[in-house]
């Protein structure tokens, strides 16, 4: 029987919560996360099934001051795993927690993390959306050849995918924003 496995999984920019759940489920099923590398390739090794909480932070300042950043998480019982496209991965066994523990304990800091993700990851996507996808859709709609229709379909698909990504970012952002600015 194989003791390791790899899985190809794609999580878009705003889907780190889904990724955390995915890693937790794998560990519960006896597959301990080893690393993610290349293009979304997740490596696991066989382990005793356990409930382990996985958490992702996005903090470029932290990555720049790695030692003290990781030390603070270690002090609080979180094991640091790796960085991947700007996200830092941490885990802690549920048995070591009293109640539910996360790496963020209030909505203000959850909102701050989303702001960092927005600056680091979302602005480039918005630039592609407004500077390439939308202008291309307009341009292709003015030409009537089979090739341009093909391109039109391609850009329409990208339009929908990007829009979906922005909406799934905006919903939790708005939720935290309202919770922080309710006064």
């Amino acid at each position: 029987m194989k003791n390791t496995k790899t899985e190809l999984r794609f999580f878009s920019v705003p889907e780190w919560k889904k990724e955390e759940t995915y890693l937790r489920e794998q560990h519960k099923n006896g597959w301990k996360f080893v690393k993610v590398s290349g293009f979304c390739v997740y490596h696991f090794e066989k382990c005793v099934p356990e409930d382990v909480i996985y958490q992702l932070d996005y903090n470029q300042n932290g990555i720049a001051h790695k030692e003290e950043y990781v030390k603070m998480f270690n002090d609080c019982g979180w094991e640091y795993l790796q960085d991947y496209v700007g996200y830092s991965y941490f885990r802690k066994a549920a048995s070591e927690m009293d109640g539910v523990e996360e790496i963020f304990c209030d909505d203000a800091s959850r909102l701050d993390m989303m702001k960092r993700v927005f600056k680091g990851r979302l602005i480039p996507l918005l630039a592609i959306f407004f500077l390439i996808i939308i202008p291309q859709m307009i341009q292709q709609s003015l030409i009537d050849t089979p090739f341009s229709r093909g391109l039109m379909i391609l850009f329409c698909i990208m339009f929908v995918v990007y829009l979906g990504m922005f909406i799934s970012f905006a919903i939790p952002y708005w939720k935290y924003y309202k919770s922080v600015h309710k006064e």
Binding site: M72, A108, D112
Partner: protein
């Protein structure tokens, strides 16, 4: 104190309040976590992501200052501006508490 500081920190989060309260004495991040737990009978457990973000932000805004590093842990202390903010917040909470007691 400029308006930006007031807007961001008054009122402040519970975590922010305990960070400033603890940093009236020099401490590192984990020291703040432990002391806050002690002060709140374990009810408030500051998480590392929240703590790291808050300390970076407060240092940038001049509410706390970096003193030295010990065993990979950065030690901070509150500044004059930080003390001003903390006092403003204490006054707000005192007022809140007074009104709460009166309303009871």
């Amino acid at each position: 104190m400029d308006n930006h500081i007031k807007k961001v920190y008054v009122p402040m989060t519970e975590t922010g309040f305990y960070i400033l309260l603890c940093l009236r004495e020099e401490s590192h991040g984990y020291g703040i976590v432990k002391k806050t737990e002690l002060l709140t009978n374990g009810e408030i457990k500051i998480s590392p992501g929240t703590l790291y973000g808050s300390l970076s932000k407060m240092e940038k805004d001049g509410l706390i200052k970096y003193i030295k590093e010990e065993d990979k842990r950065k030690i901070y202390c509150i500044t004059e501006l930080g003390t001003e903010v903390l006092e403003l917040e204490m006054k707000r909470i005192e007022r809140l508490y007074k009104n709460m007691v009166e309303a009871k």
